[in-house]
């Protein structure tokens, strides 16, 4: 891939001045593990990513070298068992890690979300022991990059209508079809792909780079998640050995189980983006003088800041409670939908308000605001759109399906 040959940028003169905000003492609900994990990821982000993220986003290039760093810090599958290359941590630890990554950039968090929740998790959850041992340590250490293929050009919110299919051919399946909007796909070594069997049941397959008939062209021209690489997956009579089929799941619950994991991480991650916008807006409002005083002294600025920290606090409590439920294995997909939808929308609104507080500076790359705002437009739509999540809540409380 062309990305592999690009000059790696590792330094700049930018300093990340972010300070954590914890208005309701939510930190006291966190354990030592959580706090250590969060602070470690924050330190790593400040050192390795914050100085270069604007440059990569501007150039619409993925900082591929960061996969190794993400692996070393333990951001891939932190809640998977140590034996399989995970961190052996709980769901709240996973959440705070996602928060700190997205505090820097939603694209950075996407790199980790996909690798951990959408590639390592299904192999761990639905794979055979051989598949686990073959792929998970390599994915956990960043030696392999993975991607996840569910969405298709004509099937986004309605994945059950997928056209990608497999035909039985003895010890292999012949895979045909295409997938769209696939994070990491052009640089991925393996893809977890969901396809329909001849009987109409959906199965998961591990497709490896280099298999004949498999290609992953990059999607260009994104105004969002510019530091994350996105592509297609194209399968033209790809012969996938049956040993690469995930044996322990059939049906849409397979991919949806992965998406619940990833959406859970997004519910936390979005708080990070919101915190970064709030932090920058608060500081800017105290330093920017107009009419002889800091703009933080004006009521309309205070209204914005006060509402921001109120919404962030609510989102933090929502995420923490969801994390507690997830630790007990009791977080329902509908509860995850509510948190993903609420927190991402909250973050996007805060990015917009923060942009106003920054005035003209808010549209420049001197501040992270517009980058977060553009990123969050994707986050609002991917992993279940804002509207679909609302309908999931609607269905959950009424018992009536408004999707179709």
């Amino acid at each position: 891939m062309s990305h592999a040959n690009d000059t790696v940028i590792t330094k700049s003169d930018k300093t990340d001045r972010y300070q954590h905000h914890d208005y309701y003492g939510v930190d006291q609900l966190l354990s030592e593990d959580h706090l250590l994990a969060r602070d470690a990821v924050r330190d790593w982000v400040k050192q390795e990513v914050s100085p270069i993220i604007e440059e990569y986003a501007e150039q619409a290039k993925c900082p591929v070298h960061l996969f190794k760093g993400l692996a070393d810090i333990g951001a891939f599958g932190p809640s998977l068992p140590l034996k399989y290359g995970g961190g052996g941590m709980d769901e709240i630890a996973y959440g705070v890690i996602m928060q700190e990554l997205e505090r820097c950039d939603s694209g950075l968090r996407s790199m980790a979300s996909v690798q951990g929740s959408l590639v390592m998790y299904p192999i761990y959850k639905y794979g055979s022991e051989e598949q686990r041992m073959k792929y998970l340590p390599k994915l956990g250490s960043g030696e392999f990059i993975g991607c996840f293929g569910l969405t298709e050009p004509d099937h986004g919110s309605n994945p059950s209508g997928m056209l990608t299919n497999v035909v039985d051919d003895g010890d292999a399946y012949i895979l045909n079809g295409s997938k769209m909007w696939i994070t990491n796909s052009p640089i991925a070594d393996i893809a977890v792909v969901w396809a329909k069997r001849e009987d109409g049941r959906i199965i998961g397959l591990i497709v490896e780079k280099g298999m004949k008939g498999f290609s992953a062209p990059e999607i260009h021209g994104k105004w969002s998640l510019r530091a994350s690489i996105t592509g297609e997956l194209v399968f033209e009579d790809v012969r996938v050995p049956k040993a690469n089929v995930l044996p322990n799941v059939e049906g849409l619950k397979g991919p949806l189980g992965c998406l619940s994991k990833a959406r859970y991480g997004i519910a936390w991650g979005a708080i990070g983006a919101a915190l970064d916008c709030y932090d920058s807006a608060l500081r800017y409002s105290q330093e920017r003088i107009q009419f002889g005083k800091p703009i933080a002294q004006f009521q309309l600025t205070q209204k914005k800041l006060a509402e921001m920290i109120t919404e962030i606090t609510k989102a933090q409590l929502l995420a923490w409670r969801l994390g507690s439920l997830a630790n007990d294995g009791k977080a329902s997909p509908a509860q995850i939908s509510m948190a993903k939808r609420n927190n991402v929308h909250m973050a996007l609104e805060i990015a917009r308000e923060a942009r106003q507080i920054h005035g003209g500076m808010g549209i420049t790359n001197e501040y992270p605001i517009m980058r977060h705002m553009m990123n969050l437009e994707t986050v609002l739509t991917y992993e279940g759109t804002h509207d679909i999540h609302l309908l999931i809540t609607g269905m959950d409380v009424t018992g009536l399906n408004a999707f179709k």
Binding site: Q19, D33, L36, A37, D39, A40, G74, G87, M89
Partner: protein, 246 residues
């Protein structure tokens, strides 16, 4: 090699500083505490490097109550093998030094590391006191440790140059910038740290010959004074009379 690293808890560098009890005590309410950066980045990491090079164990010691356990866990997550916490609040440099010396005297450590100072009180005293109490050589503010031979060569940055000191273990050294590079703990290290021993031991009675009379915050900085480029006399006057630098 048997290595000891003395670690301290300090307010975060961005903490708002205030005092209580008639300005005789630091007010820690609402302050975020961290592992003292000189202890963490330089002393601890250099000790871990030495262990990686020559084998052995790295023990960290802290004087304080159980609220310090999180910074001790961090040290274990970075790579220390075991920890000792002397279970009483830190009172003064001499008290801390006596507690550390009391523990260390029966353990025969090869090297005892400290950061060059804590970033709160900036005393830079405990290292020298520990060395004296244990009757060991002491090198302060070392910015490099060459451990390639049987003996050690420690480098100190001094005015206009560097001083190199050759010595054999055992000794006490305080670490300055340059000794090592920060290591950020990873998730695996954080989880492994839970299984490493943290021994809580009682402190000993000590006496101190000094006490804090009061703390005072520095005066607030004045704004920038703009002077017309043609008005050199005014600039000189201000530098002389107000800034008092001429």
């Amino acid at each position: 090699m048997k290595l000891l690293v003395c670690i301290s808890k300090t307010p975060d560098t961005t903490a708002k500083i205030s005092f209580k009890d008639d300005n005789t005590q630091f007010n820690g309410d609402g302050v975020n505490f961290i592992l003292n950066p000189y202890d963490e980045w330089y002393a601890l990491v250099r000790a871990i490097e030495l262990k990686e090079q020559k084998g052995g164990t790295v023990t960290v010691i802290n004087v304080g109550d159980s609220s310090n356990d999180i910074i001790i866990r961090k040290a274990l997550a970075i790579g220390a093998d075991e920890a000792v916490r002397v279970d009483q609040p830190a009172k003064s440099s001499i008290d801390t030094a006596k507690q550390i010396a009391e523990y260390a005297k029966s353990q025969s450590f090869d090297v005892i590391f400290l950061g060059k100072e804590t970033i709160d009180y900036n005393g830079a005293e405990v290292g020298a006191m520990v060395a004296e109490l244990l009757e060991l050589p002491y090198v302060s503010f070392a910015s490099n440790m060459d451990s390639s031979a049987e003996h050690f060569v420690l480098t100190r940055d001094i005015e206009g140059g560097v001083e190199e000191i050759k010595l054999n273990a055992p000794f006490v050294v305080s670490a300055a910038k340059g000794m090592a590079e920060q290591r950020i703990p990873n998730m695996r290290g954080i989880m492994m740290a839970k299984r490493k021993p943290l021994n809580v031991i009682p402190g000993i009675e000590t006496s101190s010959h000094t006490g804090v009379k009061s703390f005072t915050l520095p005066a607030e900085k004045d704004g920038v004074k703009m002077i017309d480029p043609d008005n050199m006399d005014e600039l000189v006057r201000l530098l002389k009379e107000e800034a008092k630098v001429l």
